[in-house]
Symmetry: C2
Subunit: 356 residues, 2 copies
């Protein structure tokens, strides 16, 4: 390892204050908002009276460096790790995607966005948080997307697994696709959200469940392309965050094959091949994948963004420089620039990088 490699991260997380919703919402809603309890060496997440997740405290704490909650410490971590700008997703706020009450979902999202704009994003133009919108009511989502744009957000987070009965190929979503395209807001789908990521038990379960989180991300792309949503809105850009990037050419080929070979069953017809739509409008992020560079260099798919996933265990903190050197030493500089910042700059307004 020699020089510091500076990169911007397309996938990171902020840990919100636990009492965010208690401070912002009336008690009747606040008591149903995400909440955690620590006992018996376990941390349990409750949402609207339901247990969402239970982890060993050691696991939860391993993902909470001071910078997870404290934005000043965070910016020091970024400088030390060599991360310039950061797309920042929620942490506790992700549980909003698991709610089943539309009012609770709408109000929790609204409170999160207000908190984030005032107390987090305001700290630095290097932070590019996603806004949260309710996925339970598309009119609510459209309304909050407009408000989020006013608040300065450049993109909106959505769960990779949509609410039951609302698959992303359903026409019900059309107003949100149209509003996002019109507002120039990217839609950022983060893997592992909207449904429990734990589906397998038994030998290999941890790795199996880790892989399972990628499949709903593949489905999001498939549904938004096959249904014609991305074709009808050529300016709409979507992101599948944290699921890797090198599966995209395989999915594009698969969709082209189905579209062409099963022509007699295909509705709607598209104005472009699925692969053309995907390669142009679908962005992805990865952390460690050795397949990322050849995907850009040899497979012709360049909407590829590196992400630190700070501060999660799946991510690169505190070893970001080691990972970046393993990924990029000896690689063509144009490809490095593309993956570490150029792709992200297509999606978002980023501050100019201060020369290192």
């Amino acid at each position: 390892m020699t020089d510091k490699i500076w990169a911007s991260s397309a996938d990171s997380h902020v840990l919100e204050p636990l009492d965010l919703w208690k401070r912002a919402l009336p008690a009747a809603l606040a008591e149903r908002a995400p909440w955690t309890v620590r006992d018996d060496n376990r941390e349990t997440v409750y949402v609207d009276g339901q247990v969402m997740r239970r982890d060993p405290i050691s696991f939860s704490d391993a993902m909470r460096p001071p910078g997870a909650e404290d934005v000043s410490a965070r910016l020091q971590d970024l400088d030390e790790q060599g991360v310039w700008a950061e797309v920042v997703f929620p942490s506790r706020g992700l549980w909003i995607s698991n709610m089943s009450d539309a009012e609770l979902s709408r109000e929790c999202a609204r409170a999160w966005n207000d908190w984030c704009a005032a107390d987090f994003a305001s700290a630095s133009a290097r932070l590019l948080p996603s806004a949260i919108v309710s996925a339970l009511d598309v009119a609510d989502a459209v309304s909050e997307l407009g408000r989020a744009k006013e608040l300065g957000f450049q993109h909106v987070y959505l769960p990779t697994t949509p609410p039951a009965g609302m698959p992303y190929n359903n026409e019900i979503w059309e107003p949100l696709w149209a509003a996002a395209a019109e507002a120039g807001m990217a839609l950022s789908f983060h893997v592992g959200t909207g449904a429990s990521p734990v589906v397998a038990r038994g030998p290999g379960g941890a790795v199996i469940n880790y892989v399972e989180t990628t499949m709903p991300g593949q489905r999001v792309v498939t549904h938004l392309v096959a249904s014609g949503a991305l074709d009808r809105h050529p300016d709409l850009r979507i992101v599948i965050a944290e699921g890797g990037c090198s599966w995209i050419p395989a999915l594009a080929d698969r969709m082209d094959e189905g579209y062409r070979q099963h022509d007699m069953f295909v509705r709607p017809k598209l104005s472009r091949l699925p692969s053309e739509i995907i390669f142009r409008q679908v962005y992805t992020s990865f952390q460690h994948d050795r397949s990322a560079v050849p995907t850009v260099e040899a497979l012709g798919y360049d909407k590829v963004m590196w992400g630190s996933d700070y501060p999660h265990l799946e991510g690169t903190f505190p070893n970001t420089q080691k990972v970046l050197h393993e990924l990029f030493d000896g690689v063509d500089q144009a490809v490095i620039d593309r993956i570490t910042e150029g792709t992200m700059r297509e999606l978002f307004d980023l501050p100019e990088r201060i020369p290192a």
Copy 2:
């Protein structure tokens, strides 16, 4: 297009006689075996009293050139299309994977293997059919795998979606993994089998469902690697047929990341990284994918096999030469040789190709 490109197909299908099981089994079993009825412009498949599938007759008939059922016509098609050796999967026999009665499953598989060895494989050494084993009872599967080897089969077909309650990471399967490794029989998992491939409705449904068939194939690899099955049996080779090949590097990276970053939860530990196991023991086949050549050339994954999927609509018949030229014109000859036959020759004994 100029010269004829000769290729061997790692994925094709034979259409068995409709009355195969009526001829071979006692009436009480035969009447529950796969059967089709044509009426109202629909072809309906029944298995054990249940409707398995209903297709327009035009769709069913489009996949039935004379060579689908008549092996002499088939060999003429192969010569004309430029296909040398052929891995051949069942058609009606695939429904055995959807049965829930162990005796019916075992006896239908046995009858299929007897028919195939006597009436199909005997026609030419260029035909490499998979044997069928019941997936409902592992002892039955082990026993039939041994019998299949005696009958001359070189591999065994299994469904990508296992029976309910029997995920492929379960220890219940260990005797089959051990027996296949010991016998040198590859295990060939064919996409779209073992569960209905139709899961989505509405806009884009045909393409969405076509993509969905690939996910259980990804799961097979994940389960057999994460559970340690392929690590315990380094001579065991598995094939995921018809699902493409370029998703493998993405899956390998994802599994390595989960295995390393979630170390505290990972059981069992493996003697090699998941990616090493996958790149060495997992074989895949594709038909049209433009991503196949760069996967071999730039991503370091070379267990890649082309397949015609004869006589299916997803396949290349009757345009095989056009597809092969689109895939391979201008490509390094060593890569062409690898994809069109070399990989398959690692798995199977193939007859030497007669110079064209």
